[in-house]
Amino acid sequence: MTIDLKTVKHISKLSRISIEEEKAKRLTNDLNSIFKFIEKLNELDTSKTEPLTSVAETTLKLRRDKIESKNIREDILKNSPEKNKDFFVVPKVVE
């Protein structure tokens, strides 16, 4: 399984990371060497193995339906690179 430049560009689009042609080429090489190393997993037969998603030795704890947070709009907006008094501001979205 090799990853081509087109795939790298597709992934970069999905990840919302723009990438220049030169860098994309280098990344293609990097990814291929990493995936060559990852392919080792194919040696294993896992057809009868259940996937393991969490190693936390506990069950999901449930929270009571209680309002505990206050209006912290100022805190929420404080770090935003572009905002006004009430909102986060982003470039115009046309639907």
């Binding site: 990853i3 795939t7 790298v8 992934i11 970069s12 999905l14 990840s15 919302r16 990371i17 723009s18 990438i19 990344l27 990097d30 990814l31 060497s33 990493i34 190393f37 990852i38 392919e39 080792k40 997993l41 194919n42 040696e43 294993l44 896992t46 193995t49 259940e50 996937p51 393991l52 998603t53 969490s54 190693v55 936390a56 030795e57 506990t58 999901l60 704890k61 929270r63 912290i72 805190d75 929420i76 404080k78 770090n79 935003s80 690179p81 572009e82 986060f88 982003v90 470039p91 115009k92 979205v93 046309v94």
Partner: protein, 485 residues
Amino acid sequence: MSEINNLKLCDLVDKIKNKKLSSKEITEAFINRSKKSSKLNSYITDNFDNALNSAKEFDEKPDFNKKIPGIPLAVKDLFCTKNLRTTAGSKILENFIPTYESTVTQNIIDHGGIIIGKLNCDEFAMGSSNETSNYGNVQNPISENLVPGGSSGGSSAALAAKLTPATIGTDTGGSIRQPASFTGTVGLKPTYGSCSRYGIVAFASSLDQAGPMTHDVKDCALLLEVMSSFDTKDSTSVEFTRGNYLNDLNENIKGKKIGIPKEYKVDGMPKEIEDLWEKGIKIIKDNGGDVIDISLPNTNYALPTYYIVAPAEASSNLARYDGVKYGFRSKGENLIDMYEKTRSEGFGDEVKRRIMIGTYVLSSGYYDAYYLKAQKVRRLIKNDFDEAYKKVDAILTPSTPSSAFKIGEKLNDPVSMYLNDIFTVPINLAGLPAISIPAGHDNNGFPLGLQIIGKAFDEQNILNIAYSIEKNIGYKNHINDWWIK
């Protein structure tokens, strides 16, 4: 160097409780040495002025019942700290000032600790040499131009250089244990669920754990007590009775069964590491421990598994860095253009590489072949440990396959860089606790560590074994303050 800097965490606690030293004296000593050590580049952001004020406040109204009363600590810049810039080593968070405190740093503060600064680390904890940080390389105080390990490289360097009496790191695939091993210090990754992840900038949620980094095992036990807590704000936090790790520390390992996994004897492992391992085995035997050969058959698959699971989770965890709510934003013609430029300019190459890997293994058509496969192999790896622990109480291995390398040496070969974590990664995949303790030096005089892996929630046991080895192995760090002259 002031005498104070040479004191270990437990000694400082004693001195302060016995009123031999004030919090201000201690805090000043570490701040002064930190200021003189800028060449190490271990700090990203300092909190010196506030820390001094806190120290003075402590001295005015001291509470000696606390576990670390008035003790200054610098922490990895992955922990969100209220009103103190938190960057995760990334440009994308270069100006981010949290309005909240991570549970672990809150625990430190609640136990009397004073945060003196935020320590350098690989960007979003992705790296094994601290070379992916947006804030520059960190020098290993052991020798110039040597990496301090990663991702908690600023932490290991600041600790070894005695800029902080102890520190905390995070460990996703070895990020506490490998830098501890590279700097001749002690580092412990607790059982998954022991320390809350609330307020820690996430790398890979199912693997991340915070843990203590200290000069010796005693300090490590104390700091673990401080950090570890059940937290309802983290759904993966585990409610179990946390031990009095320091009080119950005990070097008696008589009758303890220690497993030696044959798969960790990798090809091309340096002789000095093999010797070191033998030395550890001998100490265990000499002290009445039972050494048992075991097998962890899927060890070789741990690293490839890790390099699917961790990037997959990271690709999603890092989606929130989009220039909208906080951090860096690049101008864009429209929303998508803004996202793409922000993330392209805001993330470094290694982070981008891992986001790409993660995006790819989760993408339509590849999920089963990569992500699901990795989750299944992860089960096999965990099963290996479960099997082994039917026979043994703990497992002894080297911490790393080599000692610290030169800055730049592995930068252009990601796979060789990843191989650094070969002994540490399986433990994260299985969610187990493991400690790295300094055990010897290689031919260059660079430190080497041994790793003791425990059963889940059996931190006390590995601390005890580490304590015993530490007492018998007689390790000493050779640091000549080369960066201060």
